[in-house]
Each structure stands twice: as structure tokens, then as C-alpha cells.
């Protein structure tokens, strides 16, 4: 029944999806944490920049961002991302760039909501014993905030996994690209749909369950 799968590298396509997810997750975690730091900092200019970034990027469709990295950054501005002649690698890196830039806005908001869950008294006590802003943030607030945002971050990660399909728009050979190709060439539309649907359930379900369990375990009980 599933012999139409022969001749297609389904596992390879999903492996590409996983690579896209992991790399953009790391990128967006770093950039998103920096943005969150800016958004709660005492310097108005930094706060303004963080707010502007989040509000602009969140409201632009990811598809627009990803297509722009290819047609704008690569074609017009000649951005090579260290892969000048290798088109596949270039598209992959551009997709990671776009996904990370987009997802960072959501990571930032998740972390900021985590910071807001830390009771005011904690920061007051920290200030009372003379800690500086940086010390308060890195020693008192962020460790607690991170533990309470595992849940929201898990949601962002799952959304990111699904969002990697948008990379199909610039020709990255991941799951959605292969599904489009297969569904056009093969007769078994339903079976192909089922295979790829199952693939994404397999990718997202354990992420949700494991991180959900972790977030319940690690959340600071108040």
C-alpha cells in the first residue's frame, strides 16, 4: 500500500525539518533572550528598540520574511551567508535566519511574561541587599523566569516546528517541499497526506509531552 514511498527520501526531508527547527530554535532563543533583556532594561532607547522589533516582526507574515531573505537579501544585496555557490546550503541558511528572526519576537514575549510572574518582593529584596540591575536579572529574576516559561516556550517551539514548512517557499528540501512534489506526481493523495501528517504529529507530540512534564516539574511553586 505504501510502495509509492519508494524513490522518495521522506526521512531525509523530515531530517531537514528537524535541522531547521533545532538551528532556528537556538538562534531565536539567544536573540529572543537579548530582546527580552532590552525590553525590561532601564534604558528607554533599548526598551523602545525591543518593543518596536517585537511589534513589527510579529505582525509581518513569516512567509513574507522568508521570501524576502531569498529575493531581497540574497538576490539584490548579494548576501551569501558563507555559501556563495551552493544554492541548497544558501537557502537553508537563509531560512534559518528568517525563522530565527521571526521566532525571536515570540520567544522574547514568552520570556517577558515569565519575568512578570516573579513576585515583586523578590526584586525588592534583591535591591534592598544592594544588587545591581544586571545581578538582579541574572541571579534572581531570569533563573526563576526561565523555569516558569518552559510551557510557553514549548508552544513556541512546536509552532516553530510547523513553521519550518514555510522554508518550502524558497526551495529548502524539507517535508512540505517533498509533500508538494509527491502529491503532484503520485495518485495516492490521501495516503501521502496521512504520512506527512503523521510525521508532524510524531515530531510535535513528544516535544509537547516532554516539555509539558518538565515545565510542571521545574516551575517554581508559589
Amino acid at each position: 500500500m505504501f510502495d509509492f514511498l519508494e524513490g522518495y527520501d521522506v526521512l531525509g526531508a523530515f531530517w531537514m525539518t528537524v535541522k531547521l527547527t533545532v538551528l532556528s530554535a537556538l538562534g531565536s532563543l539567544v536573540w529572543g533572550t537579548l530582546l527580552a533583556g532590552m525590553r525590561v532594561s532601564p534604558v528607554p532607547l533599548m526598551r523602545g528598540f525591543g518593543t518596536a522589533y517585537v511589534n513589527f516582526v510579529r505582525n509581518i507574515p513569516l512567509t513574507v520574511i522568508i521570501v524576502f531573505t531569498s529575493l531581497g537579501l540574497a538576490d539584490i544585496f548579494g548576501m551569501t551567508m558563507g555559501a556563495a555557490d551552493d544554492f541548497d546550503t544558501l537557502s537553508f541558511r537563509l531560512a534559518v535566519l528568517g525563522l530565527a528572526a521571526y521566532t525571536a519576537a515570540f520567544v522574547c514575549e514568552a520570556i517577558r511574561s515569565g519575568i512578570n510572574t516573579v513576585p515583586v518582593g523578590q526584586a525588592e529584596a534583591a535591591r534592598a541587599i544592594g544588587l545591581s540591575f544586571r545581578q538582579i536579572l541574572s541571579l534572581i529574576i531570569l533563573p526563576q523566569a526561565f523555569r516558569s516559561v518552559i510551557g510557553p516556550l514549548a508552544n513556541v517551539l512546536i509552532a516553530l516546528t510547523k513553521n519550518t514548512t514555510v522554508a518550502a517557499a524558497i526551495g529548502v528540501a524539507e517535508a512540505a517541499t517533498l509533500m508538494k512534489e509527491m502529491i503532484e506526481n503520485e495518485a495516492q493523495t490521501l495516503a501521502i497526506g496521512a504520512v506527512f501528517a503523521l510525521g508532524f504529529v510524531v515530531l510535535t507530540l513528544p516535544t509537547g509531552l516532554i516539555l509539558g512534564w518538565l515545565s510542571k516539574r521545574l516551575a517554581v511553586k508559589r
Binding site: 525590561v40 532594561s41 532601564p42 534604558v43 528607554p44 533599548m46 528598540f49 511589534n55 513589527f56 505582525n59 509581518i60 507574515p61 513569516l62 512567509t63 513574507v64 521570501v67 524576502f68 529575493l71 531581497g72 538576490d75 539584490i76 515570540f106 514575549e109 511574561s113 512578570n116 516573579v118 523578590q122 526584586a123 525588592e124 538582579i136 529574576i141 510551557g151 510557553p152 508552544n155 513556541v156 512546536i158 509552532a159 516553530l160 510547523k162 513553521n163 514548512t165 514555510v166 518550502a168 517557499a169 512540505a176 509533500m179 502529491i183 503532484e184 493523495t189 497526506g193 506527512f196 501528517a197 508532524f200 504529529v201 510535535t204 507530540l205 509537547g208 509531552l209 509539558g212 512534564w213
Partner: protein
């Protein structure tokens, strides 16, 4: 003070903040200058490339029809997904396992799958098994994909909305002898709808953004798609992206502001129970409060 993290700055903190401001300003200015330089170098600042957007033709031929299609698909998807979502949301709260179970499976399944796959599948499905004309097919496929995904997200919103009501509401309804159906339609739903409104409006932003997928992948002539035609005509790729991005930002900003205005208004109003769901609440509510399976999807906003 808006933040819990720092006091109102004293003289030393003020000086330090000024130093940080200056450093950040210089870095930001350098970055912007670098972008400006690069654009100038590649000839992207020439007025000829920006000029089309000051004339009506670029708008009436490309951008506005594209925007109209974007809005049409989003509106259709919302209107169809809402009742469907309400149905599945209420089914998930049913007392009967055989109703609750299947509804839960359907909702969790469609939340786990990327919208793009649903659109691709729908597009091919309509092509093979129905006689939808090839001009209409992309719209149908986009709306189908959006409906399947967003109905399941809306189902979670409805469920969270009903669960956010105080327990006393249904207890009181039971005490005066209402049946389960009556409790739902006369007592719980009307209150839940007001609680859910902000979250529903925020979901519209997600729908508007997702229409862009149809433009690239299945040739639906929405805003991002017509941008391509426009750029091919005037050879202004970067400029068209800037303008289209601004349109999306303005459109979604209006929706977001409306949602938060609505939220504030509902929270203040004395008539409701005070339970209001915003997009952010959804993220927190989804897994924990609603006792779900730690969602296979992002609750609100991505």
C-alpha cells in the same frame, strides 16, 4: 515605575543610563547607516524604484486587489471556522466519553499539522475529486487549510473561555433546574463569548498572516503574490517588500489594538464575570488550566 527590576534611578544610575543610551544609540545608528549605505550601493534608494507607490496605478492594479483577496480569505476562514470551533470546543467538554474523545482527537490532530500541508493537500484534493474551477481552487484550498487549523485553535479558545467562568455559574443553573443544554446555551456560552472575544480577534492576525502561504505555494493571488507581479513590472523587489510589510503591519496592528481595547473594556465592564481571555492568557491556559494533553500546537499567537 513600570518594571519590578529597578528603582527610580538616582544620580549615579541616571548617569549610567545615559552612557548605555549613548552606546546603544551609536550601535543602532551604525547599523542603520550600514543598511542605508548598502542600499545606496546597490542602487536601491533611487527614487524611480519608490515612485510607483506614489501613483495610483500600482495600488489599483496590484496591491489593493491582492489585499482584498487576503481579507476575503481571512474573513471567509474566520466565519466558517467560528461555528465549527464552537462545536468542537463544546463537544470536548461533553459528559459523554464518546463525544469528548473523538472531538479531542480531531482538535489535537489538526493543531499538530502545519497549515501549509493542509493547504497543499486541499489544493490537490479539490483538483482531483471536485469540479471547482482552477481559478477558484486556490481560494478554496487556502480557506480550507485555514478553517481546519483555526477551527481547532478556536475550539481550544472556546473551551478555555467556558472553563474560565466561575463554577458557581453552572451550579446556580443546576440549582434552578436547568438542563445541561440550557445551562450551556443560556448561562455559560453568552458569558464565555464576551470572555473569548479578545482572543478571537487576536486569532484573526494569525489567519491574515497565514493567507500569505497560499500566495507563494499554491498561487492564490493575495497581497504577497501580487507583490511579485508588481515587482516584475517595476523591477523594485526590495521596495515592494517594504511596502507590503508595512501594509501587513498596519493591518495587524489595528487588529491587535482592537483586541486589547476590547479586553480592557471587558475587564472593566461590570456586567461580565470579569473573566477575559487574551492571546497571552491562551498560552498559559491551554495546557495547565484546561487539562489538555499539553497541546500539540501553539495556543494563540504564532
Amino acid at each position: 515605575m513600570s518594571s519590578i527590576l529597578y528603582d527610580t534611578p538616582g544620580p549615579r544610575a541616571k548617569r549610567r543610563n545615559v552612557v548605555f543610551s549613548v552606546i546603544f544609540f551609536v550601535l543602532l545608528a551604525l547599523f542603520l547607516w550600514w543598511i542605508w549605505q548598502t542600499m545606496d550601493e546597490k542602487g536601491q534608494l533611487r527614487w524611480a524604484l519608490w515612485k510607483p507607490f506614489t501613483e495610483s496605478q500600482a495600488w489599483t492594479t496590484y496591491l489593493l486587489p491582492g489585499l482584498a483577496n487576503t481579507l476575503k480569505a481571512a474573513a471567509l476562514a474566520m466565519v466558517i471556522a467560528l461555528p465549527l470551533g464552537a462545536f468542537f470546543g463544546i463537544s470536548r467538554l461533553s459528559d459523554h466519553r464518546w463525544v469528548r474523545g473523538p472531538a479531542g482527537v480531531v482538535v489535537e490532530f489538526f493543531r499538530a499539522i502545519p497549515v501549509l500541508l493542509l493547504m497543499l493537500f486541499a489544493n490537490e484534493f479539490y483538483d482531483r475529486y471536485t469540479n471547482v474551477s482552477s481559478e477558484q481552487r486556490p481560494l478554496y484550498a487556502v480557506v480550507t487549510g485555514l478553517v481546519l487549523y483555526n477551527a481547532s485553535v478556536l475550539a481550544e479558545i472556546v473551551r478555555a473561555g467556558i472553563l474560565s467562568l466561575p463554577k458557581g455559574q453552572s451550579e446556580a443553573a443546576m440549582a434552578v433546574g436547568l438542563r445541561k443544554g440550557q445551562t450551556m446555551t443560556n448561562v455559560l456560552l453568552p458569558q464565555a463569548v464576551t470572555a473569548m472575544l479578545p482572543a478571537i480577534v487576536s486569532q484573526l492576525v494569525v489567519i491574515v498572516k497565514d493567507t500569505a502561504l497560499g500566495g507563494v505555494m499554491i498561487g492564490f493571488t493575495e497581497l504577497l503574490n501580487t507583490r511579485g507581479t508588481l515587482a516584475a513590472n517595476y523591477a523594485n523587489v526590495v521596495q515592494s517588500f517594504v511596502v507590503v510589510a508595512v501594509i501587513y503591519i498596519v493591518l495587524n496592528f489595528i487588529l491587535t489594538s482592537f483586541a486589547s481595547w476590547l479586553e480592557g473594556r471587558l475587564r472593566r465592564s461590570k456586567k461580565s464575570t470579569g473573566a477575559v481571555l487574551s492571546a497571552e492568557d491562551m498560552e498559559e491556559l491551554n495546557p495547565a488550566a484546561t487539562g489538555g494533553t499539553y497541546g500539540t500546537g501553539a495556543g494563540g499567537g504564532i
